[in-house]
Symmetry: C2
Subunit: 202 residues, 2 copies
Amino acid sequence: MVRPSRSQDAHERPTARTRIVEAAARLFQSQGYAGTGLTEILRASKAPKGSLYHYFPNGKRDLAGEAARVAGARFADTMARMAGESASSAQFVVQFTGQLATWLEESRFRQGCPLATLALELAPGDSEASDTLEGVFAAWQDALKLRLEADGIAPERAGRLALLILSSIEGALILSRTARKTEPVLSVGEELAALIESHRGT
Amino acid sequence: MVRPSRSQDAHERPTARTRIVEAAARLFQSQGYAGTGLTEILRASKAPKGSLYHYFPNGKRDLAGEAARVAGARFADTMARMAGESASSAQFVVQFTGQLATWLEESRFRQGCPLATLALELAPGDSEASDTLEGVFAAWQDALKLRLEADGIAPERAGRLALLILSSIEGALILSRTARKTEPVLSVGEELAALIESHRGT
DNA sequence: GTCTATATAGACCGGTCGGTCTAATCATGG
DNA sequence: CCATGATTAGACCGACCGGTCTATATAGAC
């Protein structure tokens, strides 16, 4: 049936499925859904077209959903790790936006939010994809909310604050990419930190 | 030479150029750049392909630039009008996000920010388009900054606040579109208003 | 009128799109 | 060692892509 769990062995090459999903996530992130052809994904992942339709019988749409889930989970892991290591919510936001700025520069401003392009192109026309993306965004917001609550901020307030933080970071990533400068995302990070500080224990 | 200025006569049908740009702006906004074909734009604008390449010899890219300029200017006009009519920056932000929520619902969440999709798909690969988009974003931010300064907020602070407001509204539009709910953009509007109030006269 | 530049009209092009299909190969359990 | 299903491999398909080109209509200048 399914390939046994050897797929994670250290010395083994990732399976074709993994390579396809990784390449798709990266390419969708930088070029968008419609702007990325299956041929390009296959070339980047060194996989044949047969494998793609073996693992994703419904083709490009299913692949986009899986890519969004994987990339979203990885993003969430990074957030959770940094949230755990930081001394306060405010410090966390500054560190996180700093990390985003680094990633922007490393990719020469080609890679922003891993989900934003997919969200704009697929929602709300593709309701299944929208549900997936909505779930990932909600998970991110929840991670932020938990971190704020750990600083003593009341749940209701933390939820609204988390939404503001997530929204402003998403928007700042767009502005930074467009301007090819890290300043927007860094400035927003600092402003958010100041805002959080003013909410300590409320 | 150029068609005389009859093009604005009230009883006259808009020129093919205008129709093409309007249709392109609308379609790019909802489906993205790569996801919108020239044939679709031509069908929507009832214009022949010859006209498109007559007005935009460099084709789709030039058309996207012009569509972004036109849509961006219209957005800026709306902001300026609402800013002038509002009693305070905070009230303005609430009214503006309310208007955005209405537009989202009217389009059944298909039309968010007129520039976001173009920005994510074209920047930073197309530096000319990036420059255009960056200019429009900067104009929006400046309109916000001016409104904040009119409330007595210091220029440096107003600039950073304007960036935060613009970013968070951009991000909230993505989240609202994905979730097919107006709640994110409305909630962000209220949070921003509260934030602005806390800055009165600083 | 005639001349000239603008604008309309759409057939046509090579290339790429997402998707289908058949055949070969591989790995594993009996 | 064979049987079986998972996987790889890529030729192939019709549709559509952005872009080019030639021919025609239209309108203002003189």
